[in-house]
Subunit: 609 residues, 2 copies
């Protein structure tokens, strides 16, 4: 350990390393005052650092007088150095909850290295501290044991990923952060140039194009823990800057990329958490994930698969179902095992939640109770044949309930999927200490914007179509992509694909997406140019670091695993960013800030600028 | 290895791994066509990847006809897969310069994975390619063997640093990149906020304050490979974004930090370069470095120390020297061993270089030639006593020359220091494959701006003064700092210091620097607040990654060790950044770009904006 000064013959130790075997040794501990106690003239000081807590005892009969008096005035979070002799704690006073609980330091010297004001919130226990206060005093918040653990675990997990990828022949290569703005998808953060005033760099939303160029450059296997930036409108648990494990490789099949990612994740969980992750992961087709779980990021910690109950109601006289089926829509539902015992009010609450939170037009249910069938559905729907088929399709028996959403198939699946998660949580089936990974494969290449109707890439325009498909003819929406998502416990950890490396295929995809030649040239001209100089087949993946670590530690928000996060308004409350800047700085950039519309005149139309 | 398709029973191998022991095996290699040769109907294709080059041979008698004809049409940089059987090369045709030079692949199958246009410059040899062309086609430039080596070595060196620091208990912690602008020193890059239009983030010039806050937060030992940004005016070999190994630790002495840095650097050189670095490094005081080497970043690959020749000319009748000495200035010089044989013209050239490039008012010399003393100095300066003393002070003998710069001591030292480097280069004493590290210690805490006369921090305002000095009284310029620079071969690799952790000392330093209370509060209020809540003593260092790697590989410019650097005008010529952005993007930021003054009217005064 390190020393501030070296006035004695003591050995500097951390607050986590002393045990019974050290009795009799002369040591010095340094750290924060975690707690003070005064018992019959003896002063007990718990000294804390990153490694643990060690008890120092000041005795008026043996400690130096100044040390004793100084100890009597210590307050929580003061920074001290205490020196003395290690001794076993008196029998019966050992603390088994503490790694150093068998010993104490009989302290005879004390140096106060810095004083502390009373912290703005308690550092121990689960007090529900206002998050804005935690953010403003993040340097204090980070001293709390869960935050220390989260940040250390993040380091261990990323170190494990780096070690694994290095061993697999991947080179970590830094790509630039001052790049070019592309008016795609989520918004870029812009960075005005001073040397070229009036022009702008953009911060990268990902190193996508650079990692593809690294493959063109022949680096074969690349990775980077890459900082990325997205100026999206605030959404729950989004950060304007975030980190991803960014990977790209040359000549891979989809299975090759999948194997590397599985190895990386397994190594991270093993080394950082001591958790063995079974590989290979389960693989689901995109269609299958939607049909069985109502989500392309299914939570596989519990079964409770969805079923298509449409056949049970074919020919029903219940108009709502009949109309939906006539439109080609579906009745998707799931069985709530032993759910028939719910009260009418409990059923009503679920129906209300579905409407209010999941966007359901309605949620129907049938309860196969021991005293008969109950249901939100009218008699017309509950024919004997229908009930028999519902039981058969869902595998439902006496005591079970069945829920139904009738809508366009995708919408019905989504609602049933949300209900599934709700029921899983309600029944305690979503244990944060269990980790169930899966792959979702065979995504569509394109999707249609529901509002504009325009064709867009389901992920990004560099994704290669699955082999054997014809881009030139037929329905673009029927094309499948060589794209794969990895999912853990219902959260998407990352996305990847085999990329297009043929400039003609890339041009064709841009064309299908409706880009003019000029737009293609301006935005992606350098990529097409690069593809003309011997671009190898390549593909890769990006894994969201913040999300992975949050799931590892069971955190509700990624803010719990980022040392200095922004709040949901993208502000840093500790340093007060963003903020106004000096007019001189803007003049050098040749920029002017337009005034906003006056908020005091709410009826005036808002300025367009 | 990975596969694109898997049509045969061959094993996929890299182009660098086959040897005599693989003879008889069926393999496939994938990579770029490095060269093609046609010898009597046999077609030889050198296939290249990151790992090496393997020769594939197509024989019209044994290769499939399509494969042979396809091979005949291959051109440099086409991407191919060639499959066949490994066999020893015919006796006498082995290539000892190639790791795979003992074998070749008798190829019977060929897949062209992508074609290449003719590259815009040759990939082999030392052709002097225009750097702008290299930058525009960086993905091709990076295929060249020296660039492949540089980027791979960079990965190995950083991996070694990470492994070492991890083993020493350092946690890698990511700090934010969207922070607050501080109007200090080099200029910040600003990032306009859209959610808070009219306000700005700034990109970090370093994680300095965040790493100090991590110490306040109790993380004990932190490091990060940190991207930093500085919007300085273009200077030779500067980049607007650069990377540093950023380190901070709690409770350290200066020696503790020094030991960690020496260990880190030694580990990097050992693992990435196979070079053993001797520790501990030489330590020089700042004053000593200036006196002996005329630089605070001395090149210790050669001795040739400076001397103060002032005593030799005390009482001289040569007016120029007499005047300088009367003003308290110094005559600093050095001995050019065996330099007396230079021609008058050679001496004149050196004198001209000193004036034109090093800012010398003049450079005098004395040559102790075998046929007598020659000199640029007038007789009045060359008294027997003066010559005797010059010989004694410099240790000069017959055949040596001595050079002199007379000026303010610091200026004279700087000129003599530059001459020393020049002579070292001239004599081949600056071997790029030798690595001589040193520490420079005991820097002044403050310096005075030569123009404004204002007191400024020599490094930054968070540097702790050396212990035992009184900040309140006496000359601030006499104060020493707990600051240390590590230097390699005449380049500064990094700077560090023990930081101030006492809020009162920090306030006092801000006051000495002339900050108003309001400025302090606005810029550093959160830091002083943090120091009031139990800030531990702490200190650290930052090492410039680009510079370290450049010296490791003997590169002239850091652009040679950065995958995608900007040019000296801070432009990325490949992607065309910075560039204009859509008016809509600016409107969302509530920004307007002012028009510049018309360049077509050069007599008009330039716009101030």
């Amino acid at each position: 350990m390190t020393s501030v000064d070296n006035t004695g013959t003591q050995r500097f130790v951390t607050c986590g390393e002393l045990g019974a075997q050290d009795a009799g040794q002369r040591v010095a501990v340094r750290g924060w005052v975690n707690a003070t106690r005064d018992h019959g003239g003896l002063i007990f000081i718990d000294v804390r650092d990153r490694y643990g807590v060690t008890q120092a005892v000041f005795d008026p009969r043996t400690s130096a007088r100044e040390a004793y008096e100084s100890a009597a005035h210590l307050r929580s979070e003061d920074v001290i150095m205490a020196a003395g002799t290690v001794r076993p704690r008196p029998a019966g006073t050992e603390n088994a909850n503490l790694s150093t609980g068998a010993i104490e330091v009989a302290a005879d010297a004390l140096t106060v290295l810095n004083k502390s004001k009373t912290p703005p919130f308690p550092l121990h226990g689960d007090a529900d501290v206002d998050e804005a206060l935690r953010m403003k005093y993040r340097y204090i918040d980070l001293r709390r044991a869960p935050m220390q653990r989260n940040i250390e675990l993040r380091h261990r997990a990323l170190k494990a990923a780096r070690d694994y990828l290095d061993a697999q022949g991947f080179l970590e290569i830094e790509t630039p952060m001052l790049i070019k703005s592309t008016p795609e998808g989520a918004r870029d953060f812009l960075v005005p140039s001073r040397l070229h005033a009036g022009e702008f760099y953009a911060l990268p939303q990902s190193p996508q194009l650079f990692k593809q160029l690294l493959m063109v450059a022949g680096f074969h296997r690349y990775f980077q823990m890459a900082r990325c930036f997205r100026d999206e409108d605030s959404r729950a648990d989004r950060q304007p800057e975030f980190s991803q494990i960014d990977i790209e490789m040359t000549f891979p099949t989809q299975d090759d990329v999948i194997a590397v990612i599985e190895g990386t994740l397994a190594h991270m969980f093993e080394r950082a958490l001591g958790t063995h992750v079974k590989t290979p992961f389960v693989r689901l087709r995109y269609d299958e994930a939607l049909a069985d779980y109502g989500s392309d990021k299914p939570d596989l910690r519990f079964a409770m698969k969805l079923s298509d109950f449409s056949p049970a109601f074919a020919g029903t006289e219940f108009k709502i179902f009949a109309n939906e089926l006539a439109k080609g829509h579906a009745i998707v539902g799931l069985v709530d095992a032993s759910g028939a015992g719910r009260s009418r009010r409990e059923f009503d609450t679920l129906v209300q939640t579905a409407a209010a939170e999941w966007g359901a037009k309605g949620l129907a249910w049938i309860a196969f109770a021991s005293d008969g069938v109950k249901s939100s559905l009218p008699k017309a729907a509950l024919t004997e044949a229908a009930l028999t088929q519902v039981r058969a399709i869902g595998g439902a028996g006496e005591g079970d309930a069945v829920f139904f959403a009738a809508d366009e198939r995708a919408a019905a699946q989504a609602i049933a999927g949300k209900l599934r998660l709700h029921l899983g949580s309600e029944r305690g089936l979503r244990d944060p200490a269990r980790f169930e990974f899966c792959w979702v494969l065979d995504f569509p290449l394109f999707e249609r914007d529901p509002e504009s109707g325009a064709l867009g890439p389901m992920h990004h325009p560099f994704t290669a179509p699955a082999p054997g498909q014809d881009l030139l003819t037929g329905d673009p929406l029927a094309l499948r992509a060589q794209h794969y998502d990895v999912v853990l416990n219902g959260s998407e950890l990352g996305s990847g694909s085999i990329r297009i490396h043929d400039p003609n295929v890339q041009r064709k995809v841009f064309e299908l997406l409706g880009y003019s030649d000029e737009q293609v040239q301006q935005r992606f001209g350098f990529l097409l140019e690069a593809f003309a100089y011997g671009a190898p087949p390549h593909g890769g993946m990006a894994l969201g670091i913040d999300r992975i670590i949050a799931i590892m530690v069971g955190a509700e928000s990624i803010r719990e695993v980022i040392a200095f996060p922004k709040n949901q308004r993208f502000q840093d409350l500790m340093i007060d960013a963003p903020s106004a800047v000096e007019p001189q700085s803007l003049r050098e950039l040749r920029l002017r800030v337009d005034q906003p519309a006056q908020p005091s005149q709410p009826n005036q139309s808002r300025s367009q600028s």
